[in-house]
Subunit: 253 residues, 3 copies
Amino acid sequence: MKPLLATAAMAFAASTASAQDLSRTLPDAVGHVAPALESYSNDDLFSSVWKGEELSARDRALVTFAALMTRHETDNLADHVALALEAGVTPAEISETITHLAFYSGWGNATAAARAVAPVFDERGVTADDLPAVDPELLPLDEEAEAKREENVRGNFGDVSMGVVDNTRELLFRDLWLRPDLEPRDRSLITVAALIAAGQPEQMTFHLNRAMDNGLTQEEAGAMLSHLAFYTGWPKVFSALPVAKEVFEARTE
Amino acid sequence: MKPLLATAAMAFAASTASAQDLSRTLPDAVGHVAPALESYSNDDLFSSVWKGEELSARDRALVTFAALMTRHETDNLADHVALALEAGVTPAEISETITHLAFYSGWGNATAAARAVAPVFDERGVTADDLPAVDPELLPLDEEAEAKREENVRGNFGDVSMGVVDNTRELLFRDLWLRPDLEPRDRSLITVAALIAAGQPEQMTFHLNRAMDNGLTQEEAGAMLSHLAFYTGWPKVFSALPVAKEVFEARTE
Amino acid sequence: MKPLLATAAMAFAASTASAQDLSRTLPDAVGHVAPALESYSNDDLFSSVWKGEELSARDRALVTFAALMTRHETDNLADHVALALEAGVTPAEISETITHLAFYSGWGNATAAARAVAPVFDERGVTADDLPAVDPELLPLDEEAEAKREENVRGNFGDVSMGVVDNTRELLFRDLWLRPDLEPRDRSLITVAALIAAGQPEQMTFHLNRAMDNGLTQEEAGAMLSHLAFYTGWPKVFSALPVAKEVFEARTE
C-alpha cells in the first residue's frame, strides 16, 4: 500500500498549497510590525481560505498571481510564482498568463512580471522548451460567436477608434485567445481575476459569462470572489458581487 | 514659565507636522527635475494644506499613510511613517492600520507596508510590547446594527458567494472592527481614505456614514477630501465629492 | 544634397521612435519568460502601433509616459523617458508633465517619476536652465470659461469641501494650467491619458472636450485610445470608449 499512498500523497501535494509553502509568501517584517496580520494570515488565509474545496489550490494560485500582477505588486510576485508552480500551474501556463495579461492589464505589468519570474524559472531549470511557442497551431475559432462580438464592438465604437476595433479582432480574438497553452477556461479565469483586481466590474459581464461557457462553475466563481477579497481588498469584491449576481441569474433563467 | 512653554511646544510638536518634517518626504530629485513641483510642495502643500485647522496634523498623517499604502507607493512609505509617528500617530496605530487595510486594500499592500515600516520601527526602538496583541479583548459589538448589515449582505449576495458573506461577518465585523488599538472613528477614517485612493467611491456611502456615526465631523471629512486630492490626484476626489455630498445631505434631513 | 538629406533624416529621427529605441523598453526577461510577448511587442506594438500615422511618435511617447507615471510603473519610467526625449519631447515638457500629473494622478507618482527621471536628465546633460521656471509669466486666462467652471464646481461642492473648490481654482485653473512650458493641448492630452490609465472615464468628459477645444483632433484621440490599450490594458480603454463616443457625437451635433 505504501507506494500507492506515496503516489496519492504526491498527487495531493501537486494539487494543494501547504500552509508552509504559503507562509513563505509572508515576509518576516509582517510578524515584526503587525503580529495580528501574521495571525490572520496563518490562521485564516493560509489554513482555511486556501484549503477551501470549492476552488482548487491550483486555481487559487493562478488567480492570485493574476491579481498581484495586475496590481503591479512586483515585490510579491516571485514567491507567488514559486507557490503556483508547486500547486500545479505549469511554467508554460505562467508564461501564457503573463502574455495574456499584457493585453488585459497593461504591458508594463507583464514586463515587470517577466522580470520577477525569470529568476524563479532559472532556479528551477525551466528552459525555452518548456515555454509556449511564439506561433503555435491555434485552437479552432467559433466563427459565429466572433462575428457577433466583432459586429457589436464595431457598431458601437467603429466611429471612435477603428484601431481598437481592428486590434481587438486581430490580436485578441483571432490570435491570443486561440493560443493552446492556456485553456480557454483558464484565460477567462485570469481575465476575470484581473478585472476584479483592477476595479473594473463594469467589464466583467462578458468575461464571466465566457468563463462559465468555458467550464467555470458558479461555485468556483463564488469561491474565486471570496479568495480574491484577501488579495484585492474587500471593496473590489463587493463591487464585483452585483455583476456576478446578475450573470448567475441571467444564466439560470 | 519656561517649562510650561516647553511643554506646550512639545504638545504642539506632537500634534502638528513641521514644514521641515514634511519636506523630508520630498526626494531631492524633485528639485532637480521639476523645480515647480518642489515649489508647489513647499509653498502650498506643506506650508498651507498640512497646516489647515479643519483636520489635525495627526489625522492628515494617518490618512496620507492609508492612501499611499493603498496605492502601493512603497518607495514613499518609510518617510511618511516617520512623519506620522512625529505627528502623534502611535506605533500601535500604524500596526493596526496595516492590519486593517490588508482587508480593505489587499494583502500585498499590507505586507509591502510592513516591509517598509519595519526599519523605521527598529530605528526608533519600537518593540513587540508597543504593538497590539494578536488576541486582545474586543470592543463591544452593536448586535442590532450588525444583524441588519449581515442580513442585508446575505440577502443580496448569499447566493453568489457565501464565503464572502461568512468572512465579512466573522473576520471583519465580529473581529477586526472590534480590535481596540485603533479607535472605530480612525478605522472608518482610514477605510474612507483607502476607498478614495483606490477609486472606489461606489463603496464609500456605508463607510463615510459609519465614520460620522463614530465621530468624524463633516468639516473633518471635507478637509480630508481636500487633503487627499494631493496624494491621490484631483480626479479621485472629484469622483468622491458627489458621494460625500449625498451622505452629508441625507444626514441633515 | 547630403546635408539636406541629413537634416531631413534628423528631423525624421526627432519625430519618430525607431523599433530599436522601442525594443530598449522591453527587458530581456520578457524573451526569457514569455517569447510570445516578445514577439507581440516587436511585431505588433513597436513595428505597427507606434508607426501609426494618426498620432505622432512624439505624442505617443508623451501619453505612454503619462500612463506609466499614473500607474506608478517606476521600473519602466527611465527607459520611456529616454524614448520620449528621442521622439522629440523636450526636457522642459517632461518636467512640466511630472508637475501637472502630481495634481492629476497624485504626489507620490510625481516624486517617484522625478526619482526615475533624474539620472536620465543627468546622463544627457540636462540642467536647471533647460527646465521651466518656478514662476513663469502665465498664459492669458479665459475668464469667462473659468468663471463658468468655478461657479459650477462651487455650486455643486462648496458645501462639501471649500478646500477642494478653492485649491482647484487657485492652484489648478489660475496657475498650473496657465504655465507656458507645456501647450494647453498637451496638458489636456496627458490629463486624458492619466484618466484612462487610472480607470476614471467618469472624469473624462470635461478634459477630452477641453483637449479638443485646445486642438486635439478626433483622429488623434481615437489613435490615443488604440495606443493606450497596450499600456493600460484593453479593459481600461473599453471603459473609456463610450465616453469618447459621447463627446465626439455631442461636438458634431
